[in-house]
């Protein structure tokens, strides 16, 4: 079932974030959302994830769905290592060995047992990404997931993301045209309400 967004509006106090925003997000594919900073991309993703309520409008197709998410921030448990951060969210069926293998695939071999507060920005980002990809989800929400990765690394990580999320609905927010091209699928442009 596609996700259908109808006339969604959101205000913070007097400040309109977006107004009458509508979109269709296809099931089982990648949809990229692009918009200038402050246009309300993160706010929209938070509404999709049920963390925020829209003032008006409706969203269909999210009911009862499991969500995997990479937040705009890493949101890792600082004292835990990458493995523990990941096992924190995933089902018990996934073994420690499997988690280690996935971490190796994204180039985190050797630092899996360090508390994440000691890892670099890019390493933390990859940990957050693997965490989302190994969680139980129908819909994967990614808020600038490749931010802070260097270019050579990025291709590999994007490939990995595509492979792991095959067949699932992926919603990607990014500022980077190249990422959108690489990940394929649909594109939604969100404009600030002022421009409309």
């Amino acid at each position: 079932m596609d996700i259908i967004v109808r006339n969604l509006s959101k205000k913070y106090g007097e400040k309109k974030v977006f107004h009458n925003f509508s979109a269709i997000i296809k099931e089982g594919g990648v949809t990229s959302i692009m918009a200038p900073s402050g246009a309300g991309k993160t706010t929209f993703l938070r509404i999709l994830a049920g963390l925020e309520k829209a003032d008006e409008g409706s969203i269909e197709g999210m009911e009862g769905k499991n969500i995997g998410m990479v937040f705009q921030e890493d949101r890792l448990c600082e004292n835990l290592n990458s493995v523990s951060n990941i096992s924190f969210v995933c089902s018990n069926a996934i073994t420690r060995q499997q988690i280690l293998e996935e971490l190796h695939k994204v180039g985190l071999a050797g630092s899996e047992l360090q508390p994440v507060r000691e890892l670099s920005g890019g390493m933390r980002r990859r940990t957050a990404l693997v965490r989302a990809l190994l969680s139980v989800y129908d819909i994967l929400i990614l808020d600038e997931p490749f931010k802070g990765l260097d270019e050579s690394n990025k291709i590999e990580i994007m490939n990995y993301t595509l492979k792991k999320s095959m067949g699932k609905t992926v919603i990607l927010v990014t500022h980077d045209e190249n990422e959108v091209k690489f990940m394929g699928g649909e594109i939604i442009y969100m404009y600030p309400h002022i421009i409309k």
């Binding site: 049920g50 995997g68 937040f71 921030e73 924190f88 969210v89």
Partner: protein, 256 residues
């Protein structure tokens, strides 16, 4: 989250040479005064301390006061944490607690001691006083810890539908622990001071406070100092041990 950086810890660390210097100053002062009743030499205090230590009565008094003061401390730790947890979810309970906690913080220990003495026999006075001193400290610190909890992590756990047990183990525990430890350290110092003060006033038989009182009455200054030394050792020693146990427990729970 660390509140005391290694840098600051080094600056506040007690250096052996400074301790020795002060001990020498003390020794010189005691010798030049030359009257044991006024100021007793550190060597005599240490000697007296070892003399006391080989008596059964010493250990009985230590056990008597220790059990009561630490008993009050542990009870306050449990009740304080529980009340803080309840207050964090219910503004009614929180508002209800506010005046009680404010009173506990504002009333002088001496007044508490005398009031409580009117109500209960002096035997368990130290436990009640220790409890009353520790409760507000624990309550306020834990409540602050809960309030400063990282909302972003809680949201993350919510989105991924992480079980409440896991949330408690990996998010709540590690975030509240620093506050819990600060509260414990603060109140361990407090409860010994207040607990012994209570015993000196209530003079329960077989307590450390009774020994201090007797030393005062019979002008046995070496005993007074030796018992004081004992209290400081007990208080500091227990704090160390306590923090080690807490750290290990937390590690165990987090590592699973």
């Amino acid at each position: 989250m660390t509140f005391i950086t290694t840098d600051r810890a080094n600056k506040t660390e007690v250096k052996i040479w400074a301790v020795l210097l002060w001990l020498i100053v003390w020794e010189i002062a005691a010798r030049s005064i030359g009257q044991e009743i006024l100021l007793v030499s550190p060597v005599v205090v240490l000697f007296k301390f070892f003399q006391l230590m080989i008596t059964l009565e010493f250990w009985q008094s230590v056990a008597f006061s220790f059990l009561r003061i630490i008993g009050g401390f542990i009870l306050a730790l449990c009740v304080g944490s529980f009340l803080a947890a309840v207050s964090s979810v219910s503004s009614f309970i929180r508002e209800l607690m506010q005046p009680l906690i404010a009173v506990m913080k504002a009333v002088p220990v001496a007044s508490f001691i005398i009031i409580i003495l009117i109500w209960i026999p002096s035997r368990n006075l130290a436990a009640v006083i220790s409890f009353l001193m520790v409760l507000p400290v624990v309550y306020k610190n834990i409540l602050e810890g809960i309030e400063r909890m990282d909302r972003q992590l809680l949201e993350m756990a919510e989105v991924f539908k992480v079980s409440h047990l896991k949330r408690f183990r990996y998010i709540y525990l590690s975030q509240i622990m620093p506050y819990f430890k600060i509260a414990s350290s603060l109140s361990l110092g407090l409860c010994w001071k207040a607990g012994v003060a209570a015993e000196v006033i209530g003079i329960p038989q077989g307590s450390i406070g009774e020994k201090l009182y007797e030393a005062k009455v019979y002008l046995q200054t070496p005993d007074l100092f030796a018992w004081t030394f004992t209290i400081v050792l007990l208080s500091a020693g227990f704090e160390r041990l306590y923090l080690i146990v807490v750290d290990n427990l937390v590690k165990k729970v987090e590592r699973g």
